[in-house]
Amino acid sequence: MFEIFGLSSTALFGQLLIGLINGAFYAMMSLGVAIIFGMLRIANFVHGAQYMLGAFCAWFLLNLPVLFPGSGLPEIGYWPSLIIAPIVVGVVGIVTEKLFISKVYDLEHAYGVLLTLGLALVIEGLFHVKFGSAGQPYGIPPSLQGGQNLGFMFLPNYRAWVIVASIVICFGTWYSIERTKLGAYLRAATENPVLVQAFGINVPRMLTLTYALGVGLAGLAGVMAAPIYQVSPQMGQSIIIVIFAVVVIGGMGSIFGSIVSGFMLGLIEGLTKVFYPQGSSTVIFVIMAIVLLAKPAGLFGKT
């Protein structure tokens, strides 16, 4: 243990770690928002609610025997949830897209925002009625309990896993959109949907799948967040506004930009918590204002 600027290294690195963890979630969430915005031109206000759905899905799976006693259902743990929850949330996303969101593609952007805002209110409200505002606990999986003493700080295993996993997920998503054939189709479909359709590609289905992908990422982030933050109906409400700011800073529609700014802003937020705690909840919005002044298209956006 040593001191930097009069702070113990454990405190500083502890906050930096929290910042990095938050950043990992910002990156995964804003990635989904950026993909959906880039391809569908929809500002997905339901994203926070879908993140919450992912966390609740994991919680449900873990508590199946308690919720349905006598049905003989097994307890489904963290690792299977990591696969099942994003699929469930993705399927919910497909239904949402088919029933609601696809109806507003041809309308003014404002209607998409209002529609998704309404959906978010309904979903979060329903969970609030059922579970109240108290959070539901979700334990860290046994295989990731404990931690490493790095000398200057203590690194819990689960947090290390979240950071590594989110980097892999973000890179994988970026790669599949920017470097694969399917990704090329997707990008082409946003540039010129009519022409791409003329080549025999089912553009509406691609839009549905894109939405499911973005939403699935939110669900995945929700499962990963469950052991760190409490599983509560409001967990997505505060994060969604920060996510929008992150996406604006990164440059809307820029996938790479949203990943980098997600991690970066998480770290900056953590640092602010150390040096000027009062500013930690607003620092991201202030940075957004500064970025807008200097570079209206965002850090990685094309003008």
Binding site: F37, R41, A43, F100, K103, V104, L107, E108, H109, A110, Y111, G112, V113, L114, L115, L117, G118, L119, A120, L121, V122, I123, E124, G125, L126, H128, V129, I241, F244, A245, V247, V248, M252, Q278, S281, T282, I284, F285, V286, M288, A289, L292, L293, P296
Partner: protein, 335 residues
Amino acid sequence: MAHVASHPPVPAQKTGLFAHTELTYLVAFLIIGVVAPYVLYPIFVMKVLCFALFACAYNLIFGYVGLLAFGHAAFFGAAAYVTAHSAKFWGITPEIAILAGTAVATVLGAAIGWLAIRRQGLYFAMITLALAQIVYFYALQAPWTHGEDGIQSVPRGKLFGFIDLNDMMSMYFFVLAVFLIGFAIVHRTIRSPFGQVLKSIRDNEPRALSLGYDTDRYKLMAFTLSAGLSGLAGGTKAIVFQLASLTDVFLFTSADVLLMVLIGGIGTILGPVVGAVTLVTMQNYLAGAGSWVLIIQGAIFVAFILMLRKGIVGTWLEYRETRRRRHVEAAKKAK
């Protein structure tokens, strides 16, 4: 950004300071407003009037400039806090306190607008949302706003130093006057040459720009005016309810005012008023239902977007217009 709502053709209007329809509306509101407190609970009507003014102010930027602002709670709430604080601790009369709140909201609107108009469409929505969040967190943390408690038991005081607003009817008629003035300002703005330019920006910004209009300046002026009037509504609300709280600056208040305009009819003159009456009434009846209020509000959002995008007033105007056309055609055939 192209037009948000389809808007019925404006009928030929009389020139002069007040157009014909404008006076009709004002007189109608005055009559309804005078009768209302004897039929309904005055506090309830005052709440409706404050939110109706807020919705009219919001409609100015959303309905007539086509900019989806998502942070109007910041102006409404900031004015409520400033009014409440100045009325409670500086011992000034309520109208000066409200004006102080309005002034702060106007300055805040100019600052946020200046930043936000750099981008359009969805970006504009997200930027106003994020900037309003700064105001929210400021209200949460600053010592003078008293965090979760808010500023409570604000004295209503004496209007102009001699009319005691603790009297329910004096308070009521003051609020009615504020609403009518605010409504007249919004209506006058929309019907003015300035308002015509705003509509042209909404319908086709590049063309307005090519005609030599400095569209950014117009947008900023409209945004600032909208913020100031939202502040007027927020300040008045703080005096009526003797309270300024975090709810006033929170995201849901921004969503509420949006929903009012959507329900009533985006870009219609009467829409915001109809929307405010509908939503405040609904919230009043559902006050005991807890979280269900949000669920129902969310469902109304979805239902109006999918089925009734023009809102109540917009749909009615459209219906009247088609019927009028049919009559004209029938008359032509008869000849």
